[in-house]
């Protein structure tokens, strides 16, 4: 028997919005410690990793480890039927081939059950090595989203350069070039600040296409963290308050000669 109840159901809606454009289908790994999902997008350029801790749920029970393969667009359609203040419960029997989503209105007067078929997905699991990144930047997630969107108008790639002074985003295309500089903030009031933890300066180039997928997670957190090292995938991480996090890994674009 698996059961996970989340009073703040809108968080689960947001998690799905953050991954459903990147992944068509994915497996949710349910264990005693919580729920995990890891999958590459279909072109194998990026990797998504979602982690929801058991303690983050208002009720959590997982008698046996369970892998639930789901069509994420169907799951998203179902979650769209939940109101933002609904309590959401996911339930499955131990050897079930279906999962049930239950939505309860706060006053308990409306209760909805949605039952969905599970799928057998053959997905590989990648090991992500512990890495000491050369540079970790924390910044407002809305600012990062805006920058990715703005620069996508200029070219297919965004170049990110990080130094002690700040972080720079660069794009070029047929209408001209664009250059955005964010200075490290001196006053460090948590959510709003730009904070740079730098071992050595890094400059890397990434495809706009994927960055624009990642920023769908913006509603989950006011802050985003970017971790970079030379010639290594970028990590874009959003914390889900009290519940877990979602991490996106993106392979860089590397010059023919650098590689």
């Amino acid at each position: 028997m698996f059961e996970a109840r989340l009073v703040k159901g809108s968080l689960l809606k947001n998690v799905l919005d953050a991954i459903k454009d990147l992944l068509k289908q994915a497996s949710w790994d349910c264990a005693d410690s919580g729920i995990q999902l890891q999958a590459m997008d279909s072109s194998h350029v990026s990797l998504v990793s979602v982690n929801l801790k058991a303690e983050g749920f208002d009720k959590y029970r997982c008698d046996r480890n369970l892998i639930m393969g789901m069509d994420l667009s169907s799951m998203s359609k179902i979650l769209k039927c939940a109101a933002n203040d609904d309590i959401i419960t996911m339930k499955a029997q131990d050897n079930a081939d279906t999962v049930t989503f239950m939505f309860e209105s706060p006053n308990q007067e409306k209760v909805s059950d949605y039952e969905m078929k599970l799928m057998n997905l053959d997905q590989e699991h990648l090991g992500i090595p512990e890495t000491q990144y050369a540079c970790v930047v924390k910044m407002p997630s809305a600012e990062f989203a805006r920058i990715c969107r703005d620069l996508s108008n200029f070219g297919e790639s965004i170049c990110i350069a990080c130094t002690k002074e700040g972080i720079k985003f660069y794009a070029a295309g047929d209408i001209g070039t664009a250059n955005i500089k964010l200075a490290q903030t001196t006053s460090v009031d948590k959510e709003d600040a730009v904070i740079i933890d730098l071992q050595e300066p890094v400059t890397l180039t990434f495809s706009c296409h994927y960055l624009n997928m990642f920023i769908k997670a913006t509603p989950l957190s006011q802050q985003v963290s970017l971790s970079m090292s030379p010639d290594v995938p970028l990590v874009v991480e959003y914390t889900i308050h009290d519940l877990g996090h979602i991490q996106y890994f993106l392979a860089p674009k590397i010059g023919e000669n650098d590689s």
């Binding site: 790994d29 590459m40 279909s42 072109s43 194998h44 350029v45 990026s46 990797l47 590989e124 699991h125 990648l126 090991g127 992500i128 090595p129 070219g155 297919e156 790639s157 794009a171 070029a172 295309g173 047929d174 180039t205 495809s207 706009c208 296409h209 994927y210 290594v232 995938p233 890994f249 993106l250 392979a251 860089p252 674009k253 590397i254 010059g255 023919e256 000669n257 590689s259």
Partner: protein, 179 residues
């Protein structure tokens, strides 16, 4: 009188590359195996041209595209030759004979098992996928032929991507057994 053999420092190879385009303009890309040269990169379907004589090549392409990729014979017959594209890999001078086939429907199209998978991609999806420079050249040849590669676009890509190559994530992380 002994016939003098051709000395070729670079090996020369010719392979057919087929752009399968479906009704809505998306093209079939297949993903190479995880090991070997160009591991995990996406490419247009390749047809080996092992026949000696060029005369047989056309026939080979028509036959193989049907057999290996499930294209209908009627569609296969309507292929158009686009151009020869040459790309030099370390010791190989590779010539791609590029063909284009519009398939009436995606349904029925398949690919050999050695590929990791296949996907119908738009031009943009293809350009932001992990692919080789050679395949980008092939696309350019197709677009030049079709007059699609407007000045603007080519200017853009040159300004924008000074020969940067999209890596795949699996080049960095390796598969592990599930806990």
């Amino acid at each position: 009188y002994p016939v003098k053999g051709r000395k070729t420092k670079q090996r020369e190879e010719t392979t057919a590359v087929v752009i399968l385009e479906c009704e809505d303009g998306r093209m079939l890309l297949v993903q190479r195996p995880k090991g070997g040269l160009l591991a995990s990169l996406w490419e247009f379907p390749h047809i080996a041209l092992t026949e000696e004589s060029e005369e047989h090549w056309e026939k080979t392409v028509g036959g193989q595209v049907t057999e290996l990729f499930g294209v209908l014979e009627s569609d296969a017959a309507s292929r158009t030759f686009i151009a020869d594209v040459t790309h030099i890999f370390s010791h190989i001078r590779q010539t791609y004979r590029v063909y284009k086939i519009r398939v009436a429907s995606e349904r029925g199209v398949c690919w050999p098992e050695r590929y990791q998978g296949g996907q119908w991609m738009t031009r943009e999806q293809f350009l932001s996928s992990a692919t080789s420079t050679a395949m980008k050249k092939v696309l350019k040849a197709v677009e030049a032929q079709e007059g699609k590669s407007k000045d603007k676009k080519s200017k853009k890509s040159s300004a924008d991507q000074p020969s940067k190559k999209q890596k795949t994530i699996s080049q960095f992380f390796s598969t592990v057994a599930k806990k």
